[in-house]
Symmetry: C2
Subunit: 324 residues, 2 copies
């Protein structure tokens, strides 16, 4: 087994190798900017780690992993245009730094690049990996559409929200692990179970993200608190508060979520105070734990040495405790 | 051999079959709108026809053909956002009918759909078809970037322009034929030659398009004359006129191409008059003929019955004489 740092190094050097000498520079400059910016490299890391725990050759998993990372970054690039988001990972978004056209086209090109990396999968596994990749890709797009729909929809249910984050986040995390298992040529059963494990941890991970956005430590998390509240995003926290709140609280929440001024700190304070009154943090953690437990039940069914399972447990724990 | 109409029917019914029951509707509505809108179905038709002339099973070519058509329509959808184009094929563009976000995301989803269709290629040919598709896809994006660069660039050369239309248009037409040849499992040599044939005809086809935009019959062509002139697009016609014009004509052209008012009919008239003085129509036709002849030289080298070659000649002729 390799360390997380070793996986990240492998990914980083593969990305750098792939991005030299590409023209026109106007097209590849925003792509380099996006892919060099880094981030956690969570998805490709999951692919390499999963391949590794199933005793696969991780060198065979690098390109599929790169495909998943490039696809993920492409979605962020286009999401930032759609959300008018000026900052990503503490830096200007492509759409802000250049313009929407550059962001659209370099995103499109990144998508083709992602498929180019998938094409470099072991040939006999190409069909299987391509199938997973396409299913996940389509679901991520569908998730983003539901997310956009929710901005205009007044009666979003908790179930609809969970379906949306499942599509937008969880399937790609599950898919990243699934691809690693495919490259390792483990059993169909293990491959399916590791997908479901990743999917469950992915749900917990996204809920954790929602929670950190509202209650995280600004200094550690690197974002200003309450970003979702400022943009009136109907997260689990908000929807749960609407469910649990008194008619008066519901009304106040709805009124607060009609304020468009993103600088309104008082609004953030008011919303957070309602969340606290209704113990929304605890409610969210409870649901996170449900997904977390579900993941561990799935893990038990996987045919894998106990010490390898322990690696996955540690990984999931680090994702849940993450401070950035 | 089948007729063009039969190819088009096969494509149409495959598209319709593939677009039922997809959710969320907000995402798939613009996709249906775009794919049902039709157009000439030139690319998939080239794939089926090429497969057919090389005695392949055209039913095996339908999905790869659909992949190429869907990819092409995806690029139009995103190009229309980048160009602020309100009308396409006589109807509102997706970006105008809905909004830019819907157009971005439904375009992205179309791209994944295109790859889904490619995935339905005969399994033993998947790697080869996927490779062609990705190369072409990347080149089309690069071509679009050069096209956007030219808007701001003052000293675009004729060679640069030809490189741009090669990437943006010709490679996809060539690639569509190449994929048909791959499905027909003809020789590597034939496959490469038919690609080059399509590429050359594609260059002539795009020059023809530039010409029709300036000199076409409005009623037949369905677009208002001089669209490229109104948007100050540096086409072959404009660049050739700059090359051939007297210093005074060059200066006037540059001045005319700094006018931003798209309704300025007088500008169009002035530009067309300079084009006529410099015999730009003839110059363009001369270059078209060069590409056309190049295509026919390539055709001679293809190992194929004379009557099948004749089908390709007829096809090329119909593309060159097209009035819509």
């Amino acid at each position: 087994m390799h360390t997380i740092e070793e996986y990240q190094k492998l990914i980083q050097s593969a990305i750098e190798k792939e991005l030299v000498h590409r023209e026109p520079v106007e097209l590849y400059e925003p792509i380099k900017y996006t892919l060099y910016m880094g981030g956690k490299r969570l998805r490709p890391m999951l692919t390499l780690l999963t391949c590794d725990i199933f005793d696969g050759d991780i060198l065979q998993a690098i390109y599929p992993a790169l495909g998943l990372e490039t696809f993920h970054n492409f979605t962020l690039l286009h999401d930032d245009i759609m959300d008018n988001a000026p900052i990503r990972r503490g830096q200007q978004t492509v759409y802000k730094k250049w313009d929407a056209n550059r962001a659209i086209l370099s995103g499109d090109t990144m998508m083709v690049m992602a498929y180019d990396f998938i094409l470099a999968s072991p040939k006999d596994l190409l069909f299987e990996i391509f199938t997973v990749f396409n299913r996940v890709g389509k679901e991520v797009c569908e998730g983003q559409q539901y997310d956009m729909n929710f901005e205009k929809k007044n009666n979003v249910t908790l179930d609809e929200y969970l379906k949306m984050i499942h599509l937008k986040t969880a399937v790609l995390l599950g898919g990243s692990m699934q691809v690693g298992a495919i490259v390792a040529r483990t059993s169909k059963n293990n491959t399916q179970l590791i997908y479901e494990f990743g999917e469950s941890i992915g749900m917990a991970f996204q809920l954790r993200d929602d929670l950190l956005d509202a209650f995280g430590d600004e200094d550690i998390f690197g974002k200003k608190n309450g970003g979702d509240i400022r943009t009136n995003k109907k997260t689990f926290l908000y929807l749960k508060a609407l469910e649990l709140g008194s008619p008066k609280q519901q009304e106040e929440l709805k009124q607060l979520f009609s304020i468009k001024d993103k600088q309104d700190d008082n609004k953030v304070e008011r919303v957070l105070s309602i969340f606290q009154d209704l113990k929304i943090e605890e409610e969210t953690k409870r649901l996170m734990d449900c997904y977390y437990d579900k993941g561990f039940k799935i893990l038990k069914k996987i045919d894998l040495d106990q010490n390898k399972k322990h690696v996955l447990v540690k990984l999931a724990e680090s994702l849940m405790k993450r401070t950035n």
